[in-house]
Amino acid sequence: MLDHFCVFTKGGALLWTWQMTALRGNPIDALVRTCLLEERSGDDSFTYSPPAGVPYTLKWTLHNGLGLVFVAVYQRSLKLLYVDALLKRVKADFSVQYSPKRFDYAAFDETFRSALREAEAQVDAAKRPGAIQAGLQGQNLRNRKPGQSGTGRYERIMSTEGDDSDDDEDSSPPRSDAAPVKQLNDLSLGPKASNGNNGSEAAPTTDKDSEEDGKGGEAAFDVTKLKGKGKRGLGGRPMKAPKSKAKEKAAKDTKKTEGKKKAQRRWTQSGSEAEDKELDFSEKPDGSAVPSESENGFGSAPDLRLKSRVDVEDDDELDDDEAEPSADQNGGAQGGGGLLSSFVGKLGMSMGGTAGLTRQEIQPALVQLKRKLMERNVAEEIAEKLCESVAANLVGQKLGSFRLISTAVKEALEAALTRILTPKRSIDVLREVHAARARGKPYTMVFVGVNGVGKSTNLAKIAYWLLQNKVKVMIAACDTFRAGAVEQLKTHCARLNVPLYERGYEKDPAKVAFEAIRAAERAKCDVLLVDTAGRMQDNEPLMRALSGLISLNEPDLVLFVGEALVGNDAVDQLTKFGQRLADLATGPNPHTIDGILLTKFDTIDDKVGAALSMVYTSGAPIMFVGCGQTYPDLTRLNVKAVVRSLLK
């Protein structure tokens, strides 16, 4: 049973609510704070655990053109299959009634109730085992009625998939029946597909598909033909892209039909850059001449900037057989002499049209930016999620006249990056130290991380910085594992003139830390820095030991030390560290990573992606940045500079 449904503006004003039962806690605010504002709008659902009672699942959809958010809340134990369809339906119905100055939508109650009834009836019918066929048929019909563009398209894809499976198996129900079965399955298994993301799925498929075509024997012939067609069919039917997926499925058909279909597909998509790049692939015997030509021919701002970097161009040539984005920059020159609209389309400029941005339009720019992020060492998973979220926030938005789509996407991404990197909790350690001093307890910082990232070195740097700020520091050597670890700290302590607490090797580090805290209390130290042994995130016994250390001593700050050189592994390290600490902890409130210390920042030039990956994965802020080998080489993260070098 649906508990709650509401519509509000992005500015925060509630417009309309419907509720079955009063909500416990405040799930809507939690959704906005921890999901939508944290660049996780691309996610599928959000789980909220109220202070008492069973957790809720929240699903949402955004209307970016009007700046509206639609949220449905229900208990997590219930698997409501109709919520996605309901959200979509309500979004369509409500946006018709919406006007910015109006706050009274009492009349919408009735519309909603009927939508809800219908959605529930659909699922009920589907559940009844005897009535599957009939129920599905009914659903099929009803689905076609509202929102022809959305559902209809979706069905078309699904129906071909249904066909496919029919061929594999031996069953032979008529086509119209097979389609909804598949569709239902999809709703329950991967609800994302119905989330209005049809385009996102289809676009990459098209690219891959066509790439293969390009490599085929008759490519050259096809290409010239298609180009001609492309020019004629300008800008027409851009919505048909998803169909290509269906085409791919049916590709095993006769040669003749295949040729025809290919032509059709390309023809429909000719306005977009994604299309022309394939032409490029097939026609380009040597990858070098064409791209440079296209740069000069097309003065679209972001392209120019990109190409001016020699290394970027090199990349283009190197991986042109696998990287789609490089091709879509080249694409412009190929179809060059078209009409004005094709020109504008290729520039990626909005002509002040009334329709909002579509997924297809922003896809090329997104792909390009995602690639750029990955070049900057952002983990692939993160870049993907981030682009997904930016897209979710952009689709449907209206652009001003003659604004480049790529600029709009870039600006949205820039805002998103800044938002992620801006710490959401105070990173003023000194202030917390002062507060701890007032309580008469030493402020305990534990340094954790994998081997060789610079835990000890940066611990010494922090000790140096604290000493400068007139704080009494003690260091505890809880790395009782690696040979020479204690001696290394001894050297640091001697140079900094700081007391060291050590119990040699082969001791339980948790106990050493425990005793060190007592010692620091006796010595009236303000801060205790605990060095731990480096460990790989998969090493179960060592992670268990670390978790024991943290739950036994309850430090004020658990600082994850990570090196800026790390790429895709950053995500793995942080998630596993966080997860292991949470799983292995004994208490009810596990203490996980509070902050990040990013080391070796001076060695990476502009590949600052690790910073983003780490913050996004853990949600913890970057509290310090190590940028050199000497004691003073410790700074705070300059968010603006990082964002700039990410998008440069």
């Binding site: 509401c6 939508l36 959401k424 202030r431 002062h434 700074t635």
Partner: protein, 249 residues
């Protein structure tokens, strides 16, 4: 004389293009001037700042429409509108105010920086019932706002709007809140000046305990505190503050 006029005519004929260009430039300049006169050199922006859940959006709706409508949720984006205050509706020739509601989410707070050049006044909204648990966060945010203003050319005044006074005994008084904030900011002054943040100037008077009076004396930023209630539409202090910042004309 005639000769002179003829000469002028010839010159004009020859220089028609340059004359055209000259007029074009003149027109553009005029347009710019008109725009400047309309929007005014100082701007009419009033910022609504403060932590999440303090009631910024409710105050925004109250000021704009005179009602809180259906309630609010956490804002996701900056809302701004140039409008007549609801309490002054119907009055003629009243200067409109640009209200800007900045979300209180820590990741969105810094957005106010884009609006500072046109800002005439800042309403810093505080939840007086939850003040003690949020005081460090509030002080930190206020500190950032003040340091940002101290670097700016113009120093708009700040109103600490201690919201939710309708909660009665649970709500702290505005005087208490102001004093606690002064104390917190004093602490921040000492801790913030390390690790690359030392370049920012000192706020208040160097060597003296921080107080709002010292801040006004040294930096020219006037901070006042008032108890208000957005739910009960008890916002006279706020409208009064706005009209001191953006005169009715």
């Amino acid at each position: 004389m005639e000769q002179f006029l003829d000469g002028l005519g010839v010159h004009l004929g020859e220089a028609r293009i340059s004359t055209l260009a000259f007029f074009l430039v003149l027109i553009l300049l005029l347009l710019g001037l008109i725009q400047y006169l309309i929007t005014g050199p100082k701007g009419t922006t009033i910022l609504l700042l403060g932590p999440m859940g303090a009631g910024k959006t409710t105050i925004y709706l109250q000021l704009r429409d005179g009602t809180k409508h259906n309630g609010t949720v956490t804002s996701m984006q900056v809302t701004s509108e140039s409008c007549q205050l609801a309490s002054e509706k119907g009055g003629r020739k009243i200067r409109p105010v640009t209200l800007v509601d900045i979300p209180g989410h820590p990741r969105m707070r810094h957005r106010f920086e884009a609006h500072t050049p046109a800002t005439r006044g800042i309403i810093f909204v505080i939840d007086s019932a939850e003040f003690l648990s949020q005081k460090t966060d509030i002080a930190e945010q206020l500190y950032e706002v003040i340091t940002n203003l101290a670097a700016a050319r113009r120093k708009p005044p700040i109103l600490l709007a201690c919201n939710k006074s309708d909660l009665g005994a649970k709500a702290h008084t505005s005087d208490f809140i102001r004093k606690r904030i002064e104390k917190e900011v004093e602490q921040l002054r000492t801790t913030r000046r390390s690790l690359g943040e030392g370049q920012q100037g000192v706020i208040g008077i160097e060597g003296e305990v921080f107080s709002m009076a010292a801040l006004e004396k040294a930096q020219g930023i006037k901070v006042t505190a008032e108890s208000v209630s957005a739910l009960d539409a008890d916002l006279d202090d706020v409208t009064g503050f706005i009209r001191r910042c953006v005169p009715r004309r």
